[in-house]
């Protein structure tokens, strides 16, 4: 017995096994990244992650598996603060990443300057999706305030997309009535009076409108609306692009504290930088987000309707200010709901 035991270590099989194990561990390092994102980026990142894995394998020989998590943007930010150990956060709006910097100290406060275009490699518009034939005759944001229209939009307290929706309508009103905030509040109150439901995320609202059949119009991310219009229910809906709308800029950031403890600093940064490459931008445009790269934008210009854009910085003085004014406890949004009940 004793001889046999020692003999096992001398057998060629053992050498082979040991060799395989060692060479495997040297050759193909398997890296895992967790990308915590907001609601409607599921399909986009699924495709992008595959492309990045190929790119990274070619470049370094390492296998990288990117795990995805999706939900309302604010909800996702809270999950990260509560301990969800994300390497990168690709959220719906800059405020939710600011929270991670301020409350969680997960990255530096000047994170938006680390990558081009304010760390927003793709943009989107806020648009309207209506049922086929547009039975309620909806042409612009004005029409959402009419009393017989039922409007679907998620809850701005939990959803990033919903905040863009709210500010899109508010900005539209400001432009229409020469900057009259009082008028804008009246207008937005009338819209929210028309909402039968406030879902927690943009995807939930899309499901309410598309699958559950509730409401006459969905205020939506452009990419989400185009996704529906290219899906199996495409014949039941049509797109209405408002005359003026907000330029939604969903930001991306790696979280230094987490990448440091996972040892993923290099790959996390490369992952986000890959979003800015032509390949990355083409996947972005292919998933109906508006790309930043001018050449890619020209190539895909046919799928995006022209409209007038304003930004959060122009009209609302940035996200931190907008959040405090509108969406914090006791803010304007609470008044809008109270007066619109």
């Amino acid at each position: 017995m004793k001889i046999g035991y020692v003999g096992a270590f001398r057998s060629p099989w053992f050498g082979l096994l040991l060799g395989t194990v060692l060479s495997l561990s040297v050759q193909a390092k398997r890296i895992e990244l967790l990308n915590v994102s907001y609601d409607p980026t599921r399909e986009f990142y699924l495709e992008f992650n595959k492309a990045f894995a190929t790119y990274w394998k070619d470049k370094t020989g390492d296998d990288v598996v990117v795990n995805q998590s999706h939900g309302g943007s604010g909800k996702q930010a809270r999950a990260i603060l509560d301990g969800l150990s994300a390497d990168v956060a690709t959220l719906g709006l800059a405020y939710d990443v600011n929270i991670l910097a301020e409350k969680g100290k997960l990255l530096s406060a000047d994170w938006q300057k680390r990558l081009p275009d304010n760390s927003a490699p793709y943009t989107s518009a806020i648009v309207l999706l209506v049922r086929k034939g547009n039975p309620k005759g909806i042409k612009d944001f004005d029409d959402l305030a009419r009393p017989n229209v039922s409007v679907i939009t998620p809850n701005p307290k939990t959803s990033g997309g919903a905040r863009w929706n709210f500010l899109a309508a508010w900005g539209f009103a400001l432009k229409k009535w020469g900057g009259d905030a009082h008028k804008a509040q009246e207008f937005v109150t009338a819209i929210y009076k028309n909402t039968p439901v406030l879902d927690t995320g943009a995807r939930g609202a899309t499901i309410t409108f598309v699958e559950r059949g509730v409401g006459d119009v969905l205020i939506s991310w452009e990419n989400e609306a185009l996704e529906v219009l290219h899906g199996k229910e495409k014949d039941q809906f049509q797109l209405v692009v408002p005359s003026t709308t907000i330029l939604a800029e969903p930001p991306v950031a790696w979280l230094d504290k987490n990448t440091k403890s996972h040892g993923t600093e290099v790959v996390a940064k490369a992952y986000l930088e890959f979003l800015y490459t032509v390949k990355g931008q083409e996947i972005i445009a292919g998933n109906f987000y508006r790309p930043r790269n001018p050449e890619v934008a020209t190539k895909f210009s046919g799928q995006f309707a022209p409209t007038q854009f304003f930004t959060v910085d122009e009209l609302f003085g940035g996200w931190n200010k907008a959040h405090k004014t509108f969406f914090a406890e006791g803010g304007v949004f609470d008044d809008v709901l109270r007066n619109g009940r």
Partner: protein, 274 residues
């Protein structure tokens, strides 16, 4: 007190000790923790967060819908319990087993099923829409979900009581000239009342705390269709931990008061109605 424990089984002190330890860990410490956490925040802040108009609208909706749902269950549940205990019919055992279904079904599944059924595209929803009735996203949807999850409580509280009712008492009443209605009022109902009350209280308490099934069928719109447990979640999602604690505390205190008053009522009824 030196009264000896007359129980045939030994180990009174040991089992009592474990009972108290268990209750402490499972019930008292978590509930106490809520009070401790609340004590760390300024009272005025808690009061403002728990008693603003948004929270009060949520309490009204939660307790109103729960009251209606529990009342429906008290009536229908008594009826079902009576039928299941008093009559023999084919399929009785299957019907009996079905009563526990809302217990066993995960509440999210219940919510999803109800939503699918009553949506404007759904099976019953499309028929009701033609009549101009909308169930989902209104208070009706909330009541529906709460009635569903509360059904077993009244039935299960009543069944053993009905089975133990002595038929002789009813026969005696009849032989003394009481007609059926009178027998029901003076003989059967007083015996059942405490159990109905217990079932009602449990169904009500369950409804007040129900979250999983309601969020699928309610509109979750503050002031209009947001139940109190959903308000807690909404506070949490906005990093308003004080708000969540404050609302939780109000729910806890109201539920305790409710259970207490039902207990008193039960005691009173069993003493005076017999």
């Amino acid at each position: 007190m030196s009264q000896r424990n007359r129980s045939g089984l030994p180990g009174f002190h040991l089992t009592l000790g474990y009972t108290l330890l268990y209750l402490g860990i499972i019930v008292i410490i978590p509930v106490g923790g809520l009070f401790v956490r609340a004590a760390q925040s300024p009272f005025q802040e808690l009061w403002r967060l728990a008693m603003n108009d948004k929270a009060i609208a949520a309490y009204q909706l939660t307790f109103g819908c729960s009251l209606i749902a529990a009342s429906i269950n008290a009536v229908v549940g008594t009826w079902i319990a009576w039928v299941l205990s008093r009559y023999e019919f084919p399929g009785r055992r299957i019907a009996d087993a079905l009563i526990d279904f809302p217990f066993a079904l995960p509440t999210a599944v219940a919510g999803l099923t109800l939503a699918k059924l009553f949506d404007p595209h759904g099976w019953l929803g499309s028929a009701l829409a033609a009549l101009g009735i909308q169930v989902v996203l209104t208070a009706k949807g909330i009541i529906l979900a709460l009635t569903f999850v509360g059904l077993p409580f009244v039935v299960r509280a009543l069944q053993p009581v009905i089975e133990q009712l002595e038929l002789e008492a009813e026969e005696a009443a009849a032989s003394l000239g009481a007609h059926r209605g009178y027998t029901f009022r003076r003989v059967i109902a007083p015996a059942l009342f405490p159990a109905i009350l217990t079932g009602f209280a449990m169904a009500f308490a369950r409804a007040v705390g129900e979250y999983g099934s309601v969020i699928f069928v309610a509109g979750n719109k503050p002031y209009v269709s947001q139940i109190a447990p959903a308000l807690i979640v909404s506070y949490l999602e906005n990093f308003e931990y004080d708000g969540a604690i404050a609302v939780a505390l109000v729910l806890l205190i109201l539920s305790m008061l409710l259970l207490l008053s039902v207990n008193l009522l039960e005691r009173w009824s069993s003493r005076f109605l017999r």
